[in-house]
Amino acid sequence: MDINLARQTLLDAGIKLVNEGLVARTWGNISCRIDENSFLITPSGRSYDQLTLDDFVLVQIEDLSYPAGIKPSSEKGVHAEVYKNRPEVTAVIHTHQMNASTCAASRKDVPATDQEFKKILGDVVRCAGYGLPGTKKLKLATSKALGDSNAALMANHGAVCVGKTMDEAFLVAKTLEKKCEEFIFSEFANISGIKTNKIKNIHDFYILKKKRGKK
């Protein structure tokens, strides 16, 4: 992708993701492949609403090197690993989106429940093993969990979503959030016998069980 087009794509995607509530403040990061050797990524520690076209950083896939100046996101390794293993991927979105994070905290795979899930996310969204942020362990575990699917959960952290275009990766992130929410409510119905789509019911159940001393 042309680098100027990539800058605009990242700027627009950042705003879109903030508006959808999939990323906030300085959390999460997004990137676009430039060619087989490099990708452009959001900078470290900067709010999406304050980014300008010049703030994105060009990172080399092979050695994660980047030009002097603005520091790229500390999760650049996760992005590089995806680009290395998946030649067809041109956009990577890493989010700390709420429902996916809840599933990631339980370190559970989320199975497909309908055609929409299968079409956009695949048969299952796997949860990667835990690795501290910014470590080799995290990038390798994430890449392994992603395999050839479009999304993976990162244990106790968030999610990574990929696509052949930024729009596709965005749709993956959005669908993942919806499907993780459905998963939470359906699992809740299984353990509590309460069919609901109200978070308040889960909170009330939690208070009841925990107050009774259930660990």
């Binding site: 809840t102 942020p133 978070i199």
Partner: protein, 209 residues
């Protein structure tokens, strides 16, 4: 920060439910004074000013919680803003009263290795204030039994980040319970993440001065 700016921020946090709609409690430190919401802030947007050293009320009628805020500022000189979070999951966890351990890296980094619950009845009592300070040690927040959480940071925006991240941590603890339970992050790794984050952040602040 001017009084008007502070009031605007409080109203913003009220609209996001970070602060209670009925009894919003927030304060900021400005040199040797603190500015805190009054008892009647929800209806008249009034503030009170207190001398940080002597504890003398210089103007207004401060929220009953002001002595707790004074003690936090005295014992933790790096803090310059305190918010009493009334967010939903935070309140749920404060009702349960058990320690919330990080199940997300964010919480370990920003809040600390856990959020403990301080059991109090009257926050103005010296013993209760001590209890809250003890529970907050090495952390940016403590849950207050049945009453949300106290969140602090070196500025108001960061205090709101602590409240938001704590809420996410509590929400994860509550909602992962519905899918069979969340996995806690190892305590040592939580402490390491909090240490690295605090160090990185203080360096960043130093650089930006």
């Amino acid at each position: 920060m001017t009084n008007t700016d502070f009031i605007n921020e409080i109203e913003k946090y009220m609209s996001k439910n970070i602060l209670s709609q009925k009894n919003p409690i927030a304060s900021i430190k400005n040199e040797d004074k603190i500015l805190i919401t009054s008892e009647s802030f929800a209806s008249d947007k009034s503030l009170a000013e207190i001398n940080l050293i002597s504890g003398e009320i210089l103007s207004g009628v401060p929220n009953k919680e002001y002595k707790l805020h004074l003690e936090i500022y005295k014992k933790r000189p790096k803090e310059s803003a305190i918010l009493h979070s009334a967010l939903e999951a935070t309140t749920t966890c404060s009702i349960v009263g058990k320690t919330v351990y990080p199940m997300l890296d964010d919480m370990a980094q920003i809040v600390g290795p856990s959020a403990k619950t301080a059991c109090i009845k009257t926050k103005t009592h010296q013993g209760c204030v001590k209890n809250i300070l003890k529970k907050m040690k090495g952390r940016q927040a403590a849950l207050i039994s049945e009453n949300g959480a106290i969140c602090c940071a070196s500025n108001l925006d960061d205090a709101s980040v602590v409240a938001i991240v704590l809420e996410k941590g509590c929400k994860t603890a509550v909602e992962s319970f519905a899918i069979g339970g969340g996995k806690k992050i190892n305590d040592l790794e939580c402490r390491l993440m909090h240490f690295v984050y605090t160090l990185k952040y203080s360096k960043q602040n130093e650089k930006n001065r």
